[in-house]
């Protein structure tokens, strides 16, 4: 039957096409872009450090997951050398990251995109760097962008993201453009007209969270060139009237560097929900007062330090040696030399060697004293007693 064969022809030919498509899809999945980078890096390591180390290079998609910041960054899938010592001069993406900043911002706790920008969840270069992709407004703030905007220091744009956390610092080490911009804000008195960080005037718009403003909400009608929020700010700082014809903002005579620094500062002013441990310069906890600190230091390093080290001070004060107990469950050991004799009819040495009562329990389970410890304790207790006698002598009025 003719139509029977035609049916089978359709079946088999679509099978062929389907096989081709399936083959293509499976192949495409087996040779991802990052596969090449990983094998290149392995070779580099083998050359420099030998095969054994090369075997330690991880394979597959690498992910740094920082739930507190809501980031899952896969940059280290290609940027394999960031934590390896010895690749400082290697070509990107294998270069070692500068150590100084990584010490303060370890990758495991910060990820990468929090500082560098980019699309952390991506696993191919174009999507990850995101300088030219649709629908991702957070590109890597690196040399490419800096070139577009003619920023002299090719790595300066990164400082925008520094300031998202370091916003309330007066000066942040390493963020020279931002520091400069903050100085300008002080010097030129921007707060006279604008509310910044919650205080200031109301002549101009509130700039506290201006970095969150959608790029579509700027007025580009008087702009030539690329329509970006960053470019808008650059033009606006250089000549306010050029962007907003009805403005009363004076022209401050800013040059390129000033305009760039200020545009960077302004774009960094965003709402951030930083977990407390990420806020710079903040110590969470109750801070001891200077007096408390001094007392602690004195107890730990002074004459009575032995009784602190051996934890006797938990129950006993040794007043003349400056040791204060918080609980005073036991008697003041300054008197011990005489007290032990009076109460138990035994010498200090005797008592410590074979204690009775509570001390028996404590010295057999919680505090272990070697014979050397016991000797030191005894000599210190005797000294404490001597001090006490002297103090009483001076306190008593001379007859």
């Amino acid at each position: 039957m003719n139509w029977k064969n035609r049916d089978w022809a359709w079946i088999y030919w679509s099978g062929v096409v389907l096989l081709l498509i399936t083959g293509y899809v499976v192949w495409d999945n087996m040779v991802p872009e990052w596969g090449d980078y990983q094998s290149d890096f392995k070779e580099l390591v083998a050359q420099r450090f030998g095969q054994a180390r090369a075997k330690q290079v991880p394979a597959g998609i690498q992910q740094v997951w920082v739930p507190q910041l809501g980031r899952a960054d896969r940059c280290t899938t290609c940027h394999l050398g960031v934590s390896w010592k010895g690749f400082e001069n290697a070509p990107e993406p294998f270069r070692t990251h500068s150590k100084e900043i990584l010490d303060k911002h370890p990758i495991a706790q910060y990820g990468c995109t929090v500082c560098h920008g980019g699309q952390g969840q991506a696993t191919d270069e174009r999507s990850a760097h995101a300088t030219m992709v649709d629908h991702w407004e957070d590109p890597v703030l690196g040399a490419d962008l800096a070139k577009t905007y003619l920023v002299k220091n090719r790595e300066a744009l990164l400082q925008i993201n520094c300031n998202q956390c370091h916003r309330y610092d007066h000066e942040t080490k390493g963020a020279d453009y931002i520091n400069y911009a903050k100085q300008l804000v002080q010097q030129k008195g921007c707060r006279a007209c604008h509310t910044i960080n919650g205080r200031g005037g109301m002549v101009g718009p509130n700039l506290t969270y201006i970095g969150d403003q959608s790029p579509e909400q700027y007025d580009y009608s008087r702009m030539n060139g690329v329509k970006t929020a960053f470019a808008w700010h650059l033009s606006h700082f250089k000549e306010p009237k050029a962007m907003v014809s009805t403005t009363v903002m004076p022209n401050f005579g800013f040059g390129s560097k000033e305009a760039q620094a200020l545009a960077m500062l302004v774009l960094s002013w965003k709402k951030t929900n930083l977990p407390v441990e990420y806020i710079p310069g903040v110590k969470v906890g109750d801070v001891p007062s200077p007096e408390e600190l001094a007392k602690e230091k004195q107890m730990e390093t002074g004459e009575g330090a032995f009784f602190v080290k051996k934890t006797c001070f938990i129950c006993h004060s040794v007043s003349t040696l400056g040791i204060e107990s918080a609980t005073n469950i036991g008697p003041d050991l300054a008197n011990a030399a005489a007290d032990v004799q009076a109460r138990f009819g035994r010498t200090l040495e005797d008592f410590l060697a074979a204690p009775t009562g509570t001390m028996a329990v404590v010295l057999s389970t919680q505090i272990h004293l070697t014979p050397e410890d016991r000797a030191e304790a005894i000599s210190k207790l005797k000294a404490a007693y001597q001090l006490k006698l002297e103090q009483e002598k001076t306190a008593r009025p001379r007859k």
Partner: protein, 175 residues
């Protein structure tokens, strides 16, 4: 004449069957490929889990004796300047074991040697018991508690525990 015709039709029969087999094979391969894609997608390539190797703090932060690091389920042992780490996961079915301090250190025989132990670990789920060095001595636990590698980080001097590396029971880190 008839034989030639018969031969020709037989050959074309064989060819037809051959192409049919190829067609069926192609179809099968295509469908198998699609099925493979669907199933492979369910095998995760990245995991949103805590890393196996993690820092727990500076050596000076830990007191003498045993500290329970709750969120990573390990017990850290400190004896003056030596450290070692035991897993808190019962080797029976994975519950977290509880530490029980002994009033008096006991002497027990483990693998022919006399060892002094100051604490034990008891599992609340099915009653497994371990000595302080991790050796299982009672209950359904089949293996002793695992010992993980601990080292000092060259970056900041913190102790680093690696749940991916097991070490021998006697291994100690001296700081």
């Amino acid at each position: 004449m008839k034989n030639l015709k018969l031969l020709a039709s037989e050959m074309s029969e064989g060819r037809r069957a051959f192409f049919r087999r190829i067609g069926q094979g192609t179809l099968l391969a295509a469908v198998a490929g699609q099925g493979y894609a669907l199933l492979r997608s369910l095998v995760p390539n990245v995991l949103y889990e805590q890393p196996q190797k993690f820092k727990i703090g500076l050596p000076t932060q830990f007191p003498e004796g045993v500290t329970f690091i709750e969120d990573r389920r390990v017990y850290l042992f400190r004896n003056q300047n030596t450290f070692h780490v035991l897993s808190a996961k019962c080797t029976h079915l994975g519950c977290t074991v509880k530490m029980v301090n002994l009033n008096q250190p006991e002497r027990v025989e483990i693998q022919g040697r006399q060892v002094e132990i100051a604490q034990e670990f008891h599992c609340p789920c099915h009653g497994s018991k371990y000595y302080g060095d991790g050796t299982n001595y009672a209950g359904p636990a089949p293996q002793p508690l695992a010992c993980y590698q601990i080292e000092v980080s060259p970056d900041d001097g913190q102790l680093v525990v690696d749940l991916g590396e097991t070490v021998s029971r006697d291994a100690r880190l001296t700081v």
